[in-house]
Symmetry: C2
Subunit: 504 residues, 2 copies
């Protein structure tokens, strides 16, 4: 089954792009015996690089089952200007490795995501920020409304806000965007937004969402997808944390340790452990998926990829030709060779990912455990409810994330005296209290990001304040910390909260 | 002297950009003892790279005076994840090297270009294609007219054509755009384009122009600049071939060799040999200059830089945050370390550039010499006139370029019988004949690019045909060839032309 025709979604600029006339000469370059004086490229013999050699970790180094010597060994690879030492065609000068790299990405998409239609395409970008900016230019016109999660990543909004676009925030539960809210929003659009063009793009971060940490199961995705067919919506699945999925967190009952030993590496079981993506159910080709190597290899690579229908892919290529052209050849060569060195097919990379997951899972556990230690914490269904130490005063609640880097903390204000005093005098008591509490936390030398930063932008006329009644949020990132720092930070945080609620 | 206020040139989108709220947290991160749970970065200990090591040419390898052993030696450098072996702070993980790299670029701009105002800024981009796309988004609105050379690089036009912008082609002579034509165009704008907004952006490739190969001397730049002050125009100086300037070509009198020995390296003399740029006379900050490492280090680095006034620089940074973010960390680390390895300050890089110039100069000479050999060529002032071998039939003429990679060949059609027959029957005999001649050249296995590809785009209603009467053009690139290939290509070309003019 092939993608359906979705060309009516293109922005006028994206629809109007044409290939450079110079590209029409390309086909002649491969004619046998042709001497080309047509291209304007510098001569590769004049590049100053002879070869680069890299020393890298083994893919098994972080595997929970890693006990063998070889998993801890460093590996080396070398990229030569004129072909690789072992005779395979890898070549800094002509960039022939790009083809091999694309084949890897195709294999990854085919194996891990299993798209539901046949003629999808895969193409590289300079990381997901670049990818999203290209998608906005592909689909959006000034003034468009964009459907998105109620809390979302502010930098992706910063792309379209200056274009005069506006967000349509959608209420979320622990599985992400609520399907009934999406349906109602679209069904009642002409009543709630008379005269405004109905949104045709849904932006969603489905796994370990930033900032809420929630992960959308495939059942919810299917409900959302069906509504998107009904109302002809393109889904942009921005999924940088997809590869960082972990087990459910359980409150520690004895000490901080987690008793169960982690499993050893089983590729099939590992692949089955991943939540299914929108691509898996995308029978029409209306999903644009964004993947990145930023979380698995380092953000500085500026390397990611799109998976989408061939019409959108072709338009993105035209846009890429006049903007970024191609990701850095160094990033491509080095990542490509690293993947090759790690092992045949996907096997090495998957081993690396499992190890990486265990590392981020440990970090999540450090943070949850530290909260359980500094406060009184109780598991209630999916949630952890946090009370002042030795009290019944509810301070915080959160759903321990099963993916990503963020713990999204609801702060319950109703038992705070100062907040209750503010309610009489301030128009936005939640915001006023959040700012004050945040400053006290910073004064105690813990930097966290305030929930209001993540509120969807609905235009100048609507203030960025989607606070729930008597609730504010903080986003705690557990990615960049050591255990000692997490313990100390949560200890400081607990001090501030207990004092602010007059519990100490 | 500081830049004047040019904020009225910003496009509405560029003017509306705001920093991400997350950036407001940055200042707290450096507070002593602060533990940050705010950023969403992956932990650098989990990047798979330990170090990379590169083997590179010595900067002196291509120096014409290179006779010493050390100039031919390969050099090595290593970038460690956690600091460089020699103790200097270079660090893959935190990217501290970016600061050192920017300092190099600032020093290069200050020393080589000597901008005429004080508070200019320097910032990196992902190469000049990316740079130009950011400039278009900074300054241009849909429907704008853009001033440009009559023949220009088609890919830069492909950026703004789909936005509905149009080019205003300016007649050129051997020094580039004619100042009188620019003045007349602007003075008479309201008469020639009633109701249309007057252009406020001039795009120019001043050195070794693509495709015409001409280089604009500082006297012409000053005339252009003065007009741009008068009519409030922003000049975009896209100058990728600036570093590839060479001596004037002289027709060989005896054989193919050039008798004069090339000079040895003298840094001051070398810097003096460069033509002065628009920056040198830019007292107001109305020049945006684009530089790139594509021609000196390899296009795959995707690394270049802007020099412009601080207001434009700040707006470009805001746009960069939501698109490319930063060039590849690999490209930055590797180029930065290469420059450091080549020698203190600018000295190593300048030695490399002199060697590179000599290599491209040799390639230009191969091509000009081959033409002189296969045809009868005569120097007339700045031009070389090319006749059929042993005849007085004028076939070609060109100005041997003093920079860049391109020889822009005028083909004189008036003595071609077939062309003269076409004149009676075809509405565009030049185009019709060019296409036919081009195909014959391709059939002889030489690929060159047709001059009409480079015509400025003036909108759908004006066909892309700026052919002069009885003249067409071909662009011959001499960058990618070996001497044998140039000789063979020009031999084949000569065969086609002699046959087409019935001279053989």
């Amino acid at each position: 089954m092939d993608a359906i025709d979705l060309s009516h979604h293109l922005s006028p600029t994206a629809a109007a792009r044409t290939p450079s006339p110079l590209k029409s000469l390309m086909k002649y370059m491969s004619v046998d015996g042709m001497i080309s004086l047509a291209g304007g490229l510098p001569h590769p013999s004049l590049f100053p690089f002879v070869n680069i050699e890299a020393e890298v970790y083994s893919p098994g180094i972080y595997l929970p089952s890693n006990t063998s010597e070889s998993d801890s060994e460093l590996l080396r690879f070398r990229v030569h200007k004129n072909g690789r030492a072992d005779g395979q065609v890898v070549d800094l000068a002509s960039g022939l490795q790009y083809g091999a790299f694309l084949r890897f990405l195709h294999k990854f998409v085919r194996t891990v995501y299993q798209p539901a239609y046949k003629n999808y395409d895969v193409l590289m970008n300079d990381g997901s920020t670049d990818g999203w900016s290209k998608v906005v230019n592909l689909l959006c016109e000034p003034g468009d409304y964009i459907l998105l999660e109620k809390y979302t990543f502010p930098s992706t909004q910063a792309m379209w806000v200056p274009m005069g676009c506006k967000g349509v925030p959608l209420e979320m539960d622990i599985d992400g965007i609520r399907a009934d809210v999406l349906e109602t929003t679209l069904r009642e659009w002409d009543i709630t937004h008379p005269g405004a063009k109905r949104p045709h793009v849904l932006y969603v971060i489905p796994t370990g969402q930033n900032p809420t940490g929630c992960t959308m199961p495939i059942t919810r995705k299917q409900e959302i997808y069906d509504i998107c067919i009904k109302y002809d919506i393109i889904i942009v699945e921005d999924d940088p944390y997809y590869i960082l999925q972990f087990d459910t967190y359980k409150l520690p009952t004895t000490g901080n340790g987690h008793a169960e030993p982690l499993p050893s590496f089983d590729e099939t079981a590992f692949l089955d452990s991943f939540v299914k993506t929108f691509l898996r159910i995308d029978v029409q080709g209306r999903v644009i998926r964004l993947d990145t190597f930023s979380k698995t290899m380092a953000p500085g690579n500026r390397l990611g990829w799109f998976t989408c229908n061939p019409l959108f892919a072709e338009r993105i290529i035209r846009a890429t030709e006049v903007t970024t052209q191609t990701p850095s050849g160094w990033s491509q060569s080095i990542i490509s060779e690293l993947l090759h060195t790690w092992g045949p097919g996907l096997s090495g990379y998957l081993r690396w990912l499992l190890g990486l997951q265990s590392q981020y899972e440990i970090r999540r556990d450090w943070m949850c455990d530290a909260i359980a230690k500094e406060f009184d914490a109780k598991q209630e269904g999916d949630k952890v409810i946090v009370y002042g130490k030795g009290t019944k005063v509810k301070l915080l609640s959160f759903v321990p994330p099963r993916a990503g880097m963020f713990l999204w903390c609801k702060v319950h204000l109703s038992e705070n005296k100062e907040y209750n005093n503010l309610k009489g005098v301030s128009e936005e008591p939640e915001t006023a209290f959040e700012q004050k509490l945040w400053q006290e936390i910073v004064n105690a030398k813990v930097l966290i990001s305030p929930g209001r930063f993540y509120a969807a932008w609905e235009g100048e006329e609507k203030p960025r304040n989607t606070a729930e009644r008597d609730i504010v949020h903080f986003r705690l990132a557990f990615s960049m910390t050591t255990k000692d720092n997490v313990d100390l930070a949560v200890h400081r945080l607990a001090g501030v909260l207990h004092r602010a609620w007059e519990l100490s």
